[in-house]
Symmetry: C2
Subunit: 330 residues, 2 copies
DNA sequence: GATCGTCATGCTCAAATGTGCAGGTTGCTG
DNA sequence: CAGCAACCTGCACATTTGAGCATGACGATC
């Protein structure tokens, strides 16, 4: 080794500037000193400290991450809200139990609970329309007395069952009424009847027509989504026979909202069936100021996406799996 | 399932407040909105946003970490500075080559380079004392012309070799002089002589004495550390015979600073040998305003710790391994 | 059912931080 | 070595943020 001149450095491992930057970052972010204090310790002006910290952030020498386990849910909520132009979205996580049926139950419970809480925070007033189904039943059970004041609770679609499996729609409406102090209005009709003519006749009869008018007038609607399949409530309740089911499947239907079966693009899948369905039409649902839609459990993704595309949702409440599915396929 | 009343929630998965907190964190930290803007979007006051972010930080829902690869080095520097009351510390990383001798070389190169740069940033003036050794030679080679202005460069301890292996102390002093425009003052004496009497006689002779006086007067000193062992420069240069080496090892010496061998506690290990050593005594070194100590390469940990404990270091420059060893054993 | 304590809220004011700009320095080029 | 350009620095000023405090709502307690 002969002393000659400073040889070129192969890879300056750490310039003084970088060292300074990191020291500033440590003092500022770890010790929570002010930029002024950091500058004093490092012998530079506070302006330089600010610029150093700027650089550290830009070069991502410091990383700020949100580590809360629920952060993912909030991200999904924001993505849904933005993607579908919603007024809000609530996504809940469902700890897996290992058993699919239990997960289903748990998802319903969580989504219903979250929906109840969110509804309470929205404090809708006036008339509130409600649908029925297992998730709605669960939601009704979660409503806390006095969660809001409403003048009237209206059943949005037909439900009287002709089979062994009752829809329990009246329990739901009653619970909504009991917890808000509102009058209730039931819809004394089946969800789906045999012919369009019978549907029209029933809807014109005051017994159904008045409720339907009230449903139209309500500014708020709360409903859940149904899947299509042999275990669907509509099949279990006897509204759909095998031929209907087959026709629906052929038409690309993925599930229903207020008894209206939709295909993935958000359109009514089978108009002939839709004309036999008693309750608020989809367009009227979409015209409301506030509609809260619940989707809980595996397989709800497609109908949730369909409903969102149909534009009849302003607040969407779902479990994480469903929310992720919707965003993946949107 | 019977509707009765809201059942107690087993584990509210996500309170609205937490949801709000996370959303605020996302908007604030990811989108860089102001607290005011976040508040507007979330429909809360900016004060609440501030408190929400506070909570997020306290509950460590957001984590701020410094991820730069060199952050560790800066941490070591701060720890050393604080632990030993230094004016500063510089720690460099040494990419392992896989071969121990190459690592040694590389470590010296990096430490010397960093020391040269740091010295330049300190811009010491007046008289500067320097020691010799392989690391000092490397440091000298890294000095850039005009790195500072000095009046005089003084050799701090004896070095003239009586063996085949030259110490090249004069090259070091000359390079320091050439790059600063300073006059130079060499010490025409061996590092260690045979008897205290001869040492005293030499130090009183003007040829050595005047340099020693200048060494005492210098406000700044730059030196490196030597390890004890058969491959030590002092053995190679012929200053120490086997008996000396054995006595040193018995006394617990771990290495030398300016030819003064220290034990781990920072004291002179073998006073009888110290009295035969020509150069600036340790106490005088510790009294200087600025002393820059270099420690590079495996096995320098113990002598580095000893020197730090001896209180003769104000700026410490070392490789990562040595720095970590020192902090581990301090 | 009245009272007290606790807690969250929003305010004012001070501290901290970011921004655009003018002056100065460095290093490059002809 | 002059001229130029890019860059860095520090400053005044506007914006943003934090701290302490008064107020009001809610729930608990006696």
């Amino acid at each position: 080794m002969t002393i000659s001149a400073a040889r070129p450095r192969q890879g300056e491992p750490l310039s003084g500037e970088t060292r300074l930057m990191l020291r500033a970052a440590q003092l500022y972010y770890r010790l929570n000193l002010t930029q002024d204090q950091v500058g004093e310790r490092l012998g530079v002006s506070r302006f330089k400290v600010g610029r150093l910290l700027d650089r550290a952030l830009r070069e991502s020498a410091v990383r700020i991450e949100i580590v809360h386990p629920a952060a993912r849910l909030v991200e999904l909520e924001d993505a849904l809200t933005h993607r579908f132009g919603l007024r809000g979205a609530v996504v809940v996580d469902v700890a897996s139990t290992g058993s699919a049926p239990d997960d289903e139950l748990l998802a319903r419970e969580r989504v219903a609970g979250a929906a109840a809480a969110h509804l309470a925070s929205l404090r809708p007033t006036g008339a509130i329309g409600v649908s029925w189904g297992r998730t709605m039943l669960e939601l009704a059970a979660h409503l806390r007395p006095g969660w809001t004041a409403a003048t009237e609770i209206v059943q949005l679609n037909g439900a009287t069952s002709r089979s062994a499996r009752p829809t329990r729609a009246h329990e739901i409406v009653e619970r909504f009424g009991a917890t808000t102090g509102a009058a209730i209005r039931l819809m004394a009709a089946p969800a789906i009847v045999g012919s369009p003519e019978l549907r029209d006749a029933l809807e014109e009869d005051p017994s159904v027509g008045e409720t339907l008018a009230a449903a139209r007038a309500a500014a708020t609607a709360v409903f859940s989504m149904g899947v299509l399949g042999p275990d669907s409530v509509h099949v279990a309740s006897g509204y759909l026979n095998d031929a209907d089911l087959a026709a629906l499947e052929d038409s690309g239907a993925v599930g229903d909202v207020l008894g209206r079966f939709l295909s993935l693009n958000g359109r009514v899948a089978l108009p002939s069936l839709d004309r036999r369905t008693i309750g608020l039409p989809l367009e009227e649902l979409g015209a409301k100021a506030l509609t809260v839609a619940l989707a809980a459990g595996a397989g709800r993704g497609p109908i949730a996406l369909a409903a969102l595309r149909a534009g009849c949702v302003t607040v969407f409440v779902a479990d994480e799996t469903t929310a992720a599915w919707v965003l993946d396929h949107a």
